[in-house]
Symmetry: C2
Subunit: 416 residues, 2 copies
């Protein structure tokens, strides 16, 4: 079953706001076995909204429209639809009373702009009765069209709770089975991965995609098939080949994050981590603490941006900084050792480098980074020479630090 997605709003066509809702919808529809033919983003232009909507209904089996449903003056979707599909707006009485009772509770004004939310194109069925969220379904030319708000979390919950179940009912017994796995890698270039993959001679029915998501490269395997059992084993075999070929460059799959995998390995080993960050300024800690439950394996650390903090909070010796400079293997090692000592962690990782755009020298150009690691029995420093913008250098440094911990834990696990 084929669909199209239409996102509406001048904030999107002017590029001011990134359109994240269309991608979210596409991802969940894909996972449920639907194929998205095309996604369109249209400004607040009623005529063009109508034109694109009519063309989409003609081409595919269902359409999802997001945005322009709010109560502010730049929300024009419902008017555009009413006009294009020749369905005048009429008030949904249930919605209207809902909105009014909500308003009574907070203000005494007789007519509120929020009442606009209760006026829907003729034949529309409301997807929610919550007073501040707008969404409805319309069946036109025998095909379902879903209208959802543009605000990401509202759109996302209506998509999951209302659209997917309604599509499944609509669609009973018609769709293909689809298999997809994303292998997430760090440390190998896209071209090198492509080269390795093409030597595997995977079954031709399997689609392979390569996606650089800086600084990572994701490799996707996709199979769509009407016969589930044979397809499942074919797909599993292909996945195993890829895993063998890419080995430890694969840090995870599908929804895994590098920080999540690292936390999981730490927890499994019963080890606790601390971080000492200079040029990444807290990004490693931020990535780790985005993971729910990371407090089991991550203690915290020091953002040692200024030299004073390296000295006071990590015990780095002033002479070390004076002799070798803040960006040096010696200081990276002292930071990791000091962090481990001060925090009582089992493992400490440290980062010092030059993220740019200024601060580079001939001997230590922008992108020079030293990552240190200290455990009870060892300490080590790895030098790196990254390139890119300030933000890219911070990102690749933080992820490389996590990856060094991940690989260390994998090795320890195998040695046992």
């Amino acid at each position: 079953m084929l669909g199209e997605i239409i996102a509406i709003g001048n904030e999107l066509t002017s590029g001011r706001i990134a359109n994240t809702t269309s991608g979210f919808a596409a991802r969940h529809l894909f996972a449920s076995g639907y194929e998205i033919h095309a996604m369109h983003t249209i400004g607040d232009a009623p005529n063009l909204i109508g034109e694109v909507l009519k063309a989409a209904i003609h081409r595919v089996d269902f359409v999802i429209v997001t945005g322009g449903l709010g109560a502010t003056d730049d929300d024009l979707t419902t008017e555009a639809v009413a006009c294009a599909l020749e369905r005048p707006t009429i008030p949904n009485l249930e919605l209207l009373s809902q909105i009014r009772s909500h308003l009574d509770a907070i203000s005494a004004s007789p007519v509120s702009p929020l009442e606009k939310l209760a006026w829907l194109p003729q034949g529309a069925e409301a997807l929610t009765l919550q007073a501040r969220i707008s969404g409805y379904q319309l069946v036109h030319a025998g095909k379902p069209i879903f209208f959802l708000p543009g605000v990401p979390h509202q759109m996302e919950s209506l998509l999951i709770d209302q659209v997917l179940p309604r599509l499944a009912l609509w669609n009973q017994g018609r769709h293909l089975v689809s298999f997809q796995r994303i292998f997430k890698t760090l440390g190998m270039e896209e071209a090198a991965i492509n080269d390795l993959m093409s030597r595997l001679n995977l079954d031709r029915r399997i689609d392979i995609g390569y996606y650089p998501v800086f600084p990572e490269v994701h490799v996707s395997l996709t199979l769509r098939s009407p016969v589930a059992a044979e397809a499942a084993s074919l797909f599993a075999t292909a996945c195993r080949s890829v895993q063998v070929a890419l080995g430890d460059f694969i840090y995870g799959q599908d929804d895994d994050s590098l920080a999540g995998v690292t936390c999981h390995l730490l927890e499994a080993a019963g080890l606790r981590l601390a971080t000492a960050e200079s040029c990444t300024g807290g990004l490693i800690g931020h990535l780790l603490t985005q993971v729910p439950g990371s407090s089991h394996s991550y203690l915290g650390g020091v953002i040692a941006y200024a030299n004073g903090i390296k000295i006071r909070s990590l015990g780095v010796e002033e002479t070390l900084l004076a002799v070798h400079g803040a960006v040096s293997p010696e200081v990276a090692e002292a930071m990791a050792r000091g962090m481990r000592h001060k925090s009582g962690a089992d493992i400490a990782v440290s980062v010092t480098g030059i993220a740019g755009p200024d601060g580079g020298t001939m001997a230590k150009p922008v992108g020079t980074v030293f990552i240190g690691m200290a455990t009870e029995n060892m300490s080590a420093v790895h030098p790196f020479y990254f390139s890119g913008s300030r933000q890219q250098i911070q990102e690749i440094t933080a992820k490389t630090a996590l990856d060094l911990i991940r690989r260390y834990l994998l090795q320890q696990g195998r040695a046992e």
Copy 2:
């Protein structure tokens, strides 16, 4: 001059990768006075690519196509274009020799898949001779079409360096003047801002847009006009009205970031900041150190995720933690004071809270956050009760902490 943007790739229509290039292009085209009529995202389906491209050329004055130009097997844009526009691909000899000389330097293989990058549709003009970046211009039906890579930084540099100057030449003397300002706010709800704005009775030619960018709300004013002088003064007057109405809720404009504005105010006041973060895990430090030159005003801090680090690195008394709990005004204040003392900073900000999804209690539900601040002469704690996902609570906490510093510095500046 009206344009459309077409992004190509199954990674986009399956929602696996967020399409950031179309937004980037739209933003820069808009700023240069072009209007984007629509943006389309199409999978790796040659027929549909051709169909959408032909329709777009018919509708608008120029088209930008991104993605599917690489050397891997899933890159199909050039073939699709050759077929749809009936322009067979022929090798661009200059590109081919460039690619071969590059290959000679790194490998001895006789034919490389990279040579595919030199085969362009008949009549195409290469936008770059760099061996690993693909991009070309084609004039079809008297209108320019620009083909750019899907990799964001490659696409972005070709857009800026090649497409915008070429469009400007193409377009001499034809386009409208456009004015736009984005006011970025924190702390006031979208509906309340809409209400305030509608009472200003701004000139009807000015478009107003409201964009919640969690946790911020951005308000845009846009004016397009053929007469520059009158428009400029009209627009300036409207902007001043908005600034007066929203006051300190506006933290900045256009490309400003809250962290950037905060660093700037710190530097102007000659003050240095340190951070002590528990539930935000380094996010405040990360936001500050994304700003180039932030080392002038930001010293660093402590990620005090575990209680042990609060005690050892910030000097928080164990009894305080035992009596009041880690998430308490008392601990927030002790963290800020301790951080200021240990770092020698002029101002320290601290954060302790429950980001969830677990860890909430009846007395302190998920979203309970205390933000502390300490200076030479005072210390203060502000309680907050946020809602949302773990990531949202971390984001709103970090930005609210920055905003408290910003508002403190504004007040200090006015008091002087």
